[in-house]
Amino acid sequence: MVNEQKKVMMEVKNIKLRFGGVVAIQNVSFDIQEGEIRAIIGPNGAGKSSMLNVINGFYHPQEGEIWFNGEKRPSMEPYEVAKTGIARTFQNIALFKGMTTIENVMTGRQLKMHKNFFWQLLRYGPAIEEEVQHRKRCEEIIDFLEINNIRKTPVGSLPYGLQKRVELARALAMEPELLLLDEPMAGMNVEEKQDMSRFIVDVNEEFGTTIALIEHDMGVVMDLADRVVVLNYGELLADGTPKEVQADQAVIDAYLGVPH
């Protein structure tokens, strides 16, 4: 799967992130190629979510550079990052619980709606046209992720696995170039995990979306990912195909422990 000619979409270089005296990420560099599924794994506290938050613009690293589509990215806020075509889901689901599935997914289109507040308030003419167009795109995503039976159900009353899927739908509604998934399969049973894996592969293949995901389930990672980054205590431990990483002694030691 790894192809040398593939274009690098994102590159993080020598990232260093500190919270006060605590070092979360220490000098980490890796890249994400266009069209691949890139997994970030590591034990608890390894700095995986922090890394995603850095890419997402939520944290600002003290040192290091982020290159996106061949340009060095200045320090950005999350909403600015979102505008550049990076969407994400969260480890602890962050949906509007009182709103229905379709309403939640529609919020993902917010950045793409251009009619101003007053037009939308009037709900007339161009504003309606625009909403219809966006609704269509959202319905396609809902169909794609097979959540049409819960279209009008408030998400707060949905089981966990489905909420995760709604969150993915909302992220997809942004039509991102790069999709960041923070533990998309945490807390799911085997069947839900299989479903979710299939959707992730489908999104990657059908929409051509580049995906970077954090996941604990090694079986899932090995099946899904094209390339894997392993972090441990904020440091880069290994980087390569699932096979290479699995055979790496440092990774085995980090996961299984070393005799002292």
Binding site: E139, N148, N149, R151
Partner: protein, 654 residues
């Protein structure tokens, strides 16, 4: 079969008639991207013709078998019709069939082409592709997930339509030529039976039979092009074929396809069908969901619900059947309709139902009356695949829970010497595909077909009553009648019991396996703070055993009333550690128990039931949804139930 000037005895003729007479009325609808899309007869005809031409270009020959697999969608109904137009024979398959079952049918009928709904079905076929020597091309409707597949033998539905659209006039001529050759006696469809005894058989049905039976049924209920229904039953089941294609085409009625597998309830509500067919488990499920929800409602709502439902139980049926009811009761019912029945029916999607049927299994009178008292005209019909379904149907105002109606037009019934129901019908099948032996055993030279069901004509009502499958009726050692299904149905009428299997043929006493209904019992457990993590755990719960024991004893008490059946009382029973599952071959896709298979598979449990043991450890093979196999280990408890004396005095007094 006459309508206007031409005899409408083939599907192409019916389609042409519908286009000519109803051209602009809706023919097919499907909810897609949240909106109901619709095709009128003109548009549908255009698509079907493009598809037919596209299939000719793909190489489909006359007499070829075309497998159609997927959930109910207009595209697949068009596939059935297009195949019929080009002289090929469509073979609808159950979409949830595992690869083994598919392999059996596809090789048995030597299907050369398959038109499937989505990636899931493509995967299943590709898994067994080496064993399907005759299968040549696969057409898929939904391209999702198929982007990277090898496309040499895979074609998208859209491409086929497109090739039909741009086909040369020679193809057009060929199509017209093929349509011209189709006659009433040509094969219309090959439908596989569910196969309660052994492998399923392919039933060959002609155009004339399907349309004849459909027209009789339409006439019975006055179905017209203004009726509409929701096509949600499996496309491989004869019931859906007759309703959606047979009756729909014959009447020119619109077919509505749900959005997806799980959206049935919402779609039903939006469509609000006027004609509806459902098997008893569906009716049971709907009623259970109503009662579960009302338990969570506020006290006032609950009070109103209970009051008016009691009132409906008292007079609702009489009002529906236009018998005399006091003015006060009528007024109360009218009020109830505004406050409870109307909104409830609306919520269930039953507001516009003019005619509803339950078929396939016996239905409890309590469940049956629940719907009728609400003013929903639920009736019974009886039929089978070999008869293009319709044999007997109940007339309005002549509706009973324990009978199945009178023979409809074109059907003759008689009861054989052994008590088996025999019929002659316009809808009778031609033969079992590649099985002349079975054809001979079922259909005699005069055209009488044996149903395999034991029954009799009820003297009071003049309607047919079905007791059991003829071959499952047996005798206990003491010579008493053993009618397992009769008892099993009594058990299944309890909402807590999903399935029951009774054993006792050539034994001293009767014993039973039970399956709990996970929805009903799970809800009970939730309310009583009983925690469980799986079906197995809940089934083995002591209190569940107690509840089921009460149910079994109630059935025993009931059986004791009837001197003919009193020997069928259940002495010992157990709650199975797994649900009987079509994937494991224990029940059919239409949820009929395969008795001999079950008794072989669980022989250890049966012998334990006939011993003194109070529990038994067992290991059972299970098949997962993706076809993998695994083992389930469990210790199953055996419960003794009380038997009741036959009340002889009562019988004399009566």
């Amino acid at each position: 079969m006459q309508s206007g000037d031409a005899v409408l005895d083939t599907m192409p003729k019916l389609l042409a008639r519908n286009v000519q007479k109803f051209g602009n009325s809706p023919a097919f609808r499907e909810k897609d991207l949240g909106i109901w899309q619709s095709w009128n007869w003109n548009q549908a005809n255009e698509q079907i013709m493009f598809l037919a031409k596209g299939l000719i270009e793909l190489g489909v020959k006359e007499g070829d078998h075309v497998a159609v697999i997927g959930r109910n969608r207009p595209y697949l109904y068009w596939s059935l019709l297009a195949s019929q137009h080009i002289g090929a024979v469509p073979v609808p398959l159950y979409q949830d069939a595992v690869a083994d079952e598919m392999e059996y049918i596809l090789t048995h009928c030597n299907a050369t082409f398959a038109i499937v709904g989505d990636q899931e079905q493509v995967d299943k076929i590709q898994d067994i592709t080496e064993k399907l020597a005759s299968l040549r091309e696969i057409v898929y409707v939904d391209p999702k997930g198929l982007r990277k597949y090898d496309k040499t033998r895979l074609h998208s539905f859209e491409d086929i339509i497109h090739s039909g659209m741009e086909s040369p006039s020679s193809i057009h001529d060929q199509l017209q030529d093929r349509i011209g050759k189709i006659e009433s006696g040509s094969t219309c469809v090959l439908l596989y039976t569910s196969g309660t005894t052994g492998k399923s058989k392919g039933v060959v049905q002609t155009h004339g039979a399907i349309i004849g039976a459909a027209m009789s049924a339409n006439e019975h209920d006055g179905l017209t092009k203004d009726d509409y229904q929701l096509s949600y039953l499996p496309m491989a089941w004869v019931g859906d074929y007759m309703l959606s294609v047979g009756q729909g085409m014959a009447a020119g009625a619109c077919i509505n396809c749900p959005e997806g597998a799980d959206t049935f309830q919402v779609d039903l509500r939006e469509v609000g069908p006027s004609y509806f067919l459902g098997p008893p488990p569906l009716w049971e499920r709907i009623k259970t969901s109503v009662y579960i929800r009302i338990q969570d409602a506020s006290a006032i709502k609950r009070g109103a619900f209970n009051f008016f439902m009691n009132h409906a139980a008292k007079v609702g049926k009489d009002i529906l059947e236009k018998r005399s009811v006091s003015i006060l009761d009528r007024f109360l019912y009218f009020l109830g309709d505004i406050i409870i029945y109307g909104p409830l029916k609306n919520m269930l999607g039953m507001s516009n139902v003019r005619i509803a049927y339950t078929a396939g299994e016996a239905i409890s009178s309590e469940l049956f009356d629940f719907y009728r008292s609400l003013g929903i005209n639920l009736k019974q019909l009886y039929g089978q695949t070999e008869a293009s379904v319709f044999l007997t149907m109940q007339n309005n105002n002549e509706v009973y829970a324990d009978t199945v109606g009178k023979p409809i037009k074109g059907v003759e019934l008689k009861i054989g010497e052994t008590g088996e129901v025999l019929y002659k019908s316009v809808g009778s099948f031609k033969e079992y595909y590649k099985n002349p032996k079975a054809t001979k055993e079922t259909k005699d030279e005069d055209g009488w077909v044996a149903t395999g069901d034991a029954g009799y004509m009820d003297e009071n009502t003049g309607q047919l009553r079905i007791i059991d499958r003829a071959n499952s009726v047996g005798k206990l050692k003491n010579g008493a009648l053993f009618a397992p299904k009769y008892v099993e149905n009594k058990l299944k009428f309890f909402s807590n019991i999903l399935e029951a299997v009774l054993f006792g043929d050539a034994r001293d006493t009767c014993v039973a396996f039970l399956n709990i209904d996970l929805a009903a019992v799970g809800n009970w457990a939730e309310r009583n703070n009983i925690s469980y993590s799986s079906y197995q755990e809940l089934a083995a719960h002591e209190q569940v055993g107690k509840i089921l024991k009460e149910h079994v004893e109630e059935v025993n008490k009931d059986l004791a009333m009837d001197p003919n059946m009193s020997s069928c009382q259940i002495k010992r029973f157990l709650v199975l550690h797994k649900e009987l599952d079509p994937d494991d071959g224990e029940i059919t896709r239409t949820r009929k128990v395969k008795r001999s298979f079950v008794s072989e598979k669980y022989a250890d449990l049966i012998s334990a039931l006939y011993s003194e043991k109070t529990s038994i450890a067992t290991k059972t093979e299970v098949t997962y949804e993706d076809g993998r196999k695994g083992y389930l280990e469990a210790t199953v408890k055996i419960v003794d139930a009380t038997l009741y004396e036959v009340k002889k005095q009562d019988k004399n007094a009566a």
